[in-house]
Amino acid sequence: MATGARAGAATASAKPAPRTTGASKTIKLRIGRYRPERSDEPFYQEFTIPYREDMVVLDALNYIKERIDPTLAYRWSCRMGICGSCGANVAGTPQLTCAMYLKDVKRSPITVEPVENFRFLKDLVVDIEPFMEKLASVDPFIVREEEKPIERGEYRQTPEQLDMYRQQSQCINCMLCYAACPVYGHDPRFLGPAASALALRYELDSRDQGSAARLAAIATEHGVWQCTFVGECSVVCPKDVDPAGAIQQLKARAATRLMKSMLLPLATR
């Protein structure tokens, strides 16, 4: 998986210095820029930088910022596919820039743009507030009907119960799935893939008791029912969360719950 590969690269400082492929070898990047203080429209700017085979796109951005243009704005933090902050459109595909090797990009110059379906704030930095609001709307935490005191111990879980939601719990909120989702691109009111995947993560958690309110919030016109199963969110997901599958599971759960409430009104909470 890309993340694992990048994690290896991130610890490369303990290994011998990476072999350069020739002192004069360079690579050209075409960076999407937006500087609201100077222009109303985004534009592209090309940079030519020294190339090493072990460079990821984020290394290239860091090189540009440190050596060529300190005004270049982009988000990043962990450099190892965990924080989910360095997403960008690389050669037309949403990617974590820390996990994408320059050598694996087949086009030249390598185009790096802000992820699609979000408003641009500056250069590669986009407005993540709409996503944060959607995330909060699904109660992405364990809901208990009644909290027990700390001295009574933790809510215990078997490994099998953990396995039920392990896949969805890998989501790092990188928003690449939103960038790949044409439904969200068409209608920003759509709850979208990551928030849905995280909703399912808590739906499947044996400790959670907030299913009724959560399902009511997501089984709406702009909730999971707006998904038309394009599936591209699962293709670009760097953590194999499969948000497209999560949404279909939520649809099934919501429909089952509705049928139960109609047939057995006293049985549903």
Partner: protein, 133 residues
Amino acid sequence: MATTVRKAYVPRRSALWWTKNPRYLLFQFRELSGAFVVAYSFLVLWQLWALRGGSDAYDAFLQVWYSRPMVVLNVIILAFAVLHTVTWFSLTAKVPLFRIRGRPPRSAVVIGANVVIWIVLSFLVVRVIFGGF
């Protein structure tokens, strides 16, 4: 809490966004396939209506039905119906209804089982229509 957004740029989406990625293109074809499935149901209704009109009306219908444009249309409808069916099967694999030894069945197993059931049922329908039972 809303972020202060000054002069945020709202990117415009191209009307041809679905041509940028082969999977988007496949998605559009899948959505379009619904229209062809509906079209076929109208053709069947037309056939029933002709059948109700008696022998002459049905012969007239068959003359049109076996014409080259109609055969081409049927082949196109069949292609879209297969696409519709296969993509539906791939969707069913996303919703595990049961678990085997604590794990959901593999997608290939679910899709494969659907395809087998589809072929068996189709075979039975063909046998019922063309005789043998």
